[in-house]
């Protein structure tokens, strides 16, 4: 199938999805390659094992291949694909019982935080992020790492806007308590986690 030339990424994605729905494997390859970097960078923030990242991406595109004909333009193609990846990732991470994010913040009741340098701040931020409940961390990453709007995150996670706001609120509160230096508290202050 010859794909029409489309100017914007949205139009190109839509055209590719129409071709995929018609059984065009080359269109699937093109869409896969255009999304792989974005999805891999996002997913690799939750797991250091590339085989996990690859499994989630390939499971996602298997669903895209099988369900393209059911796409009804209720959202952007990118939102739909990232939504599939989100649900696939959530299931995958929940299966990994040893995943650090499955641990609650209460496992670490006392931490001394002294982020004198940006590098240390990043380390502590990673530490705090990895201990957020998965739904809250994914919401934060979708906004701050992927740059999605509130409505897009609601569509990706298949949740009401209010639920997205609540997840973000709790994530911010926990990070604030975990990283007192971010909120202006003196360095070295013990962070109470909860």
């Amino acid at each position: 199938m010859t794909l029409p030339v489309k100017n914007s990424p949205k139009e190109r994605d839509s055209a590719l999805l129409v071709a995929i729905a018609a059984g065009d494997r080359r269109a699937l390859e093109e869409l896969y390659l255009s999304f792989h970097r974005r999805l891999a960078r996002f997913l690799s923030r939750f797991t250091s094992r590339y085989e996990n990242v690859e499994e989630i991406i390939n499971d996602t595109f298997l669903v895209v291949w099988q369900s393209a004909k059911d796409f009804r333009n209720a959202s952007q193609v990118s939102t739909w694909i990232i939504g599939i990846a989100y649900r696939t990732a959530l299931k995958s991470f929940r299966r990994q019982k040893n995943h650090a994010a499955a641990q609650s913040l209460e496992d670490y009741p006392e931490q001394t935080v002294d982020p004198t340098f940006d590098a240390e701040l990043n380390d502590w931020l990673n530490h705090g992020l990895s201990r957020l409940p998965m739904e809250q961390r994914l919401t934060l990453e979708l906004a701050y790492h992927m740059g999605h709007s509130l409505e897009e995150i609601a569509a990706i996670t298949d949740c009401p806007v209010g639920t997205v706001k609540a997840r973000m609120f709790h994530a911010r509160e926990k990070l604030r308590q975990y990283l007192p230096a971010l909120s202006g508290a003196p360095p070295g202050l013990s962070a109470r986690i909860g």
């Binding site: 792989h36 923030r45 499955a102 209460e106 940006d118 998965m134």
Partner: protein
């Protein structure tokens, strides 16, 4: 009450505060952005929070990410698609096999072929169903699920969709509970105890609020006479 305290207690403050992450990533619509700008002009707490959220956003964005070569992964996906495609035509010809044309002496062989075809078809169908079941989403939500129970979870609760974040925090403080996970897609929060108050007492405090739609303990009820 001071001027600042009045602002921080206002509904406008809570609503704008909840939108700050999207103010930071610049995806708010014009109306919400103008509303946030107006509130930020008078609210010190929101300005401080905005600075914190910008630092978190910058730190997350600045973190190095590993770039992967997608071609090898794509080949593995193509192999899976090939397997799926091959399993489909295996089924169709088997059904169309014109067994009545075979000579009588070939009946046993034909029966074997048919049996094998049925077996292959069943295996292929089973594989397809397994793949499909694993990947398809259910169109319903359950409050309980097979996922591991979050660390420390003693209660699962669902709140009214109209509850504000401040009301939620107040109810949890009163019941001496904290959130350890959620809300899930079904709106379920996993709650852990913050004190020695006890699950029953916390449940009773939760249930007296009309905004608590559902609240149940996740641990077995203690036996009668159990002093715990």
């Amino acid at each position: 009450m001071t001027y600042n305290r009045r602002i921080e207690n206002s509904a406008e403050h809570h609503e704008v505060s909840a939108l700050l992450p999207w103010y930071v990533n610049e995806t708010l619509g014009d109306l919400d952005r103008q509303r946030a700008d107006a509130h930020l002009g008078v609210c010190t707490a929101c300005r401080d929070d905005l600075a914190v959220q910008r630092r978190i956003c910058e730190a997350i964005d600045a973190q190095p990410a590993i770039d992967y070569m997608p071609v090898a992964s794509l080949k593995r996906l193509q192999a899976r698609l090939d397997t799926l495609a091959e399993s489909a035509p295996t089924i169709a010809p088997a059904k169309e096999q014109p067994t009545h044309r075979l000579p009588w002496r070939g009946w046993m062989a034909a029966a074997s072929v048919a049996a094998m075809a049925v077996a292959v078809a069943l295996l292929a169908a089973n594989r397809f169903v397994q793949t499909d079941t694993r990947l398809m989403q259910p169109n319903y939500h359950t409050v309980t699920n097979s996922a591991p129970r979050p660390q420390g979870e003693v209660i699962r609760a669902v709140f009214s969709p109209s509850i504000t974040l401040v009301e939620l925090e107040t109810i949890l403080d009163e019941a001496q509970l904290r959130i350890v996970s959620g809300p899930t897609e079904a709106g379920v929060y996993s709650l852990a105890s913050n004190s020695t108050l006890g699950v029953r007492a916390s449940l009773a405090l939760l249930r007296q609020h009309s905004t608590v739609r559902f609240a149940e303990g996740t641990l077995p009820e203690p036996e009668p006479g159990d002093s715990r």
